[in-house]
C-alpha cells in the first residue's frame, strides 16, 4: 500500500511532464507540417521568391521590424484604436440598449433606426465616413465604434428585457427605489447578455478594424502596414504583419473572449447570444 503510494507520488510529476510534452507536440505537429510544405513550395521556385518568401525571410523581417520598433508602433496604434473605438461603442451601445429595454418609448424610437442601419455591413459605410470626417484617425475610430455598437445595443436591450418580472416586482414590494432597482436587480440580471454583447462587439470591431486601416489612410496601424508593404512587394513584411495580427487576435480570443464566455457560462449557465 505504502509502496504503491510512493510510486504513484514519484511517478506523477514525470508522467505529468510527459503528458504536457505530448500535448505540446500534438499541437505543434500540424504547424510543422504546414511550415514544411510552405518551405518546400517557397524553395522550389514554383512561385517567384518575392511573392512567396521562405519562413527564414519572414522570420528575419519580423525580427528586424520588431527590433527597429516599427512593428510594435504599428501594433500599439492598432490596439489603441481598437480599444478607443470599442470604448465609445460600449458607452453608446449600453446607454441606448438599456434605455430601449427600460422604456417603451425609447424602444419604439430606436428600434426602427437600429433595425434599418444594422443589416448594412459596417465596411460599406467607410467611404461615407471618409467623406464626412476626412481620412485618418477620426473616421477609423468612429467607424469601429459605429459598427461594434450594434451587437452591444441588441444584447443589452434583450438582456434588460429578459430580467424576470417577478424580480422587479419583489424588489419593488421590498421598497427598492429606481436607483437601487437598477443597480441591484436590472443590471445584474442583464449582465450575462451585456457581457455577450460586449464580446461580440469587440470581435466585430477587431474584424473590420484591419480593413478600415487599409482604407482610411491612417499613419500607423497593422492594416496600413500590410497594405503599404504590398506597394513595394514586401511580401515578407506583409507576412510578418499577418503574424502579428494573428497574435493580437489570439490574445483577444484567449484572454478576453474566452474569459468572458467561460465566466457567463459558468456563472449563469447560458450560451445564448445574438449576432
Amino acid at each position: 500500500m505504502q509502496d504503491a503510494v510512493t510510486i504513484a507520488v514519484a511517478r506523477a510529476p514525470q508522467s505529468r511532464i510527459g503528458d504536457q510534452l505530448r500535448v505540446v507536440a500534438r499541437n505543434a505537429f500540424p504547424f510543422i507540417v504546414v511550415g514544411a510544405i510552405w518551405e518546400i513550395v517557397a524553395r522550389s521556385g514554383t512561385f517567384p521568391r518575392k511573392l512567396f518568401p521562405t519562413l527564414e525571410d519572414i522570420a528575419r523581417s519580423f525580427v528586424d521590424l520588431t527590433l527597429s520598433g516599427i512593428l510594435p508602433h504599428h501594433a500599439l496604434d492598432t490596439v489603441i484604436r481598437l480599444l478607443s473605438g470599442f470604448f465609445l461603442a460600449a458607452v453608446i451601445g449600453l446607454t441606448i440598449g438599456v434605455l430601449m429595454g427600460r422604456s417603451r418609448r425609447a424602444e419604439d424610437i430606436f428600434l426602427p433606426l437600429v433595425s434599418i442601419l444594422a443589416p448594412i455591413p459596417g465596411l460599406a459605410y467607410t467611404p461615407l465616413f471618409l467623406l464626412w470626417f476626412g481620412p485618418g484617425e477620426y473616421s477609423a475610430v468612429l467607424l469601429v465604434a459605429f459598427v461594434s455598437s450594434f451587437p452591444i445595443i441588441y444584447n443589452s436591450w434583450t438582456g434588460v428585457k429578459a430580467v424576470k418580472e417577478i424580480w422587479l416586482r419583489s424588489a419593488l414590494a421590498m421598497g427598492a427605489d429606481d436607483r437601487r432597482m437598477f443597480s441591484h436587480v436590472i443590471l445584474p440580471g442583464a449582465l450575462p447578455y451585456i457581457l455577450t454583447g460586449l464580446r461580440l462587439g469587440l470581435a466585430q470591431a477587431w474584424r473590420i478594424l484591419i480593413a478600415v486601416e487599409m482604407l482610411a489612410a491612417v499613419p500607423w496601424g497593422m492594416g496600413w502596414l500590410i497594405f503599404g508593404a504590398r506597394e513595394f512587394l514586401n511580401t515578407d513584411a506583409m507576412m510578418a504583419g499577418v503574424v502579428v495580427i494573428a497574435l493580437i487576435g489570439l490574445a483577444l480570443e484567449k484572454y478576453v473572449f474566452q474569459k468572458i464566455e467561460n465566466y457567463t457560462v459558468v456563472r449563469w449557465g447560458m450560451v445564448e447570444a445574438m449576432e
Binding site: P121, M214, G249
Partner: protein
C-alpha cells in the same frame, strides 16, 4: 437578429408601437432633409432623400446597379458555397475522428482570429485583383463559422440518441444520416447563417480594397472619388436590402422549415 428577436418584435409591435416607429422614421427623415437643405454641410456630402431616390431609380432603370449587384452576389455565393463544401465535411470529420481533430484544431484556432481582410493585400499579390481574390476572401471569412459550428454541433449530439440508435441496430451509415446529421442540424444551420453574415461583410470590404471593376462595394468606393454621395447612399440601400433578404427570408425560411418545425430551436442558439 435571430428568430427570437424578430418574433419578439413582431409580438411587441402593437399598433401604438407601429405608429411611434413610423413617426420616428418620418421625424428622422425630416431632420435629415432639413439638415441637407439648410446648407450647413455642403450639399454634395449630404444629398437630400429625393436625390438619393432619383439616383437609385436611375441606376435601377439603366440596369447598372443590377449588374453590380449580380457581380457581388456571384462572388458571395461562390465563396459561401466553397466554404460549405470545405467547412461542412471537415467539421464533421473533426468531430468524428480524433486524429483529424488533433491535426486541424490547432491550425483552425490559429487562423480563425485573423480577420479575413488582413489577407486581402497578400491575395492581391498572388491572384491579382478581381474575382479570384474576392471569392477567396469570402471563402476564408465564411469557412470558420461553418466549420466551428458543424464541429460543435456533431459533438453535442445527445449520446443517448446514439446509444439508443445503436441498440436498435443502426449501422454506421444509418447512424450518420438518421441521427448525427439531424441532431447537429440546428448548429449547422446557425453556422450557415453566421457564415453568410461574415461572407456578406467580407465581400463588400474585399471589393473596396481589391477594387476590381464591378460589385456594390466597388461602386461605393469609386463614387467617393467623384464625390457622388447620392450614388453611395443608393448602393448602401441596395446592400442593406440584399443582406436583409438573405438574413430574414432565406435563412429565416430555412430555419422555419427545419429546426423550428422539428422543435429544436432552443439548441440553435450559440
Amino acid at each position: 437578429m435571430t428568430a427570437k428577436t424578430s418574433q419578439m418584435t413582431r409580438q411587441q409591435l402593437s399598433n401604438r408601437s407601429m405608429l411611434r416607429a413610423g413617426v420616428t422614421l418620418i421625424v428622422a427623415a425630416a431632420l435629415y432633409e432639413a439638415l441637407s437643405y439648410s446648407g450647413i454641410f455642403p450639399r454634395v456630402l449630404l444629398p437630400t432623400i429625393q436625390t438619393i431616390v432619383v439616383t437609385l431609380y436611375g441606376m435601377l432603370a439603366d440596369g447598372s446597379i443590377l449588374v453590380h449587384a449580380a457581380a457581388t452576389l456571384y462572388r458571395v455565393l461562390f465563396g459561401f458555397c466553397l466554404a460549405i463544401v470545405v467547412g461542412l465535411p471537415l467539421g464533421i470529420a473533426m468531430a468524428r475522428f480524433k486524429p483529424v481533430e488533433n491535426f486541424f484544431l490547432p491550425l483552425v484556432s490559429a487562423l480563425m482570429p485573423i480577420p479575413s481582410f488582413a489577407l486581402v493585400p497578400l491575395f492581391m499579390l498572388w491572384f491579382g485583383i478581381g474575382n479570384t481574390t474576392t471569392v477567396l476572401i469570402v471563402f476564408y471569412a465564411a469557412t470558420f463559422p461553418m466549420l466551428f459550428n458543424t464541429w460543435s454541433g456533431v459533438r453535442s449530439v445527445n449520446p443517448i440518441w446514439l446509444r439508443a440508435a445503436g441498440c436498435m441496430g443502426a449501422d454506421e451509415k444509418r447512424l450518420f444520416w438518421k441521427v448525427i446529421i439531424p441532431g447537429a442540424s440546428p448548429f449547422i444551420i446557425t453556422g450557415m447563417r453566421q457564415a453568410f453574415l461574415r461572407a456578406w461583410i467580407a465581400v463588400v470590404g474585399a471589393e473596396m480594397i481589391a477594387a476590381s471593376d464591378f460589385g456594390l462595394g466597388w461602386v461605393i468606393f469609386d463614387a467617393k472619388e467623384f464625390l457622388q454621395t447620392d450614388v453611395m447612399m443608393a448602393s448602401l440601400v441596395v446592400i442593406g436590402l440584399i443582406g436583409f433578404v438573405f438574413e430574414r427570408v432565406v435563412f429565416g425560411g430555412i430555419e422555419r422549415a427545419t429546426i423550428l418545425r422539428w422543435g429544436m430551436v432552443r439548441a440553435a442558439k450559440g
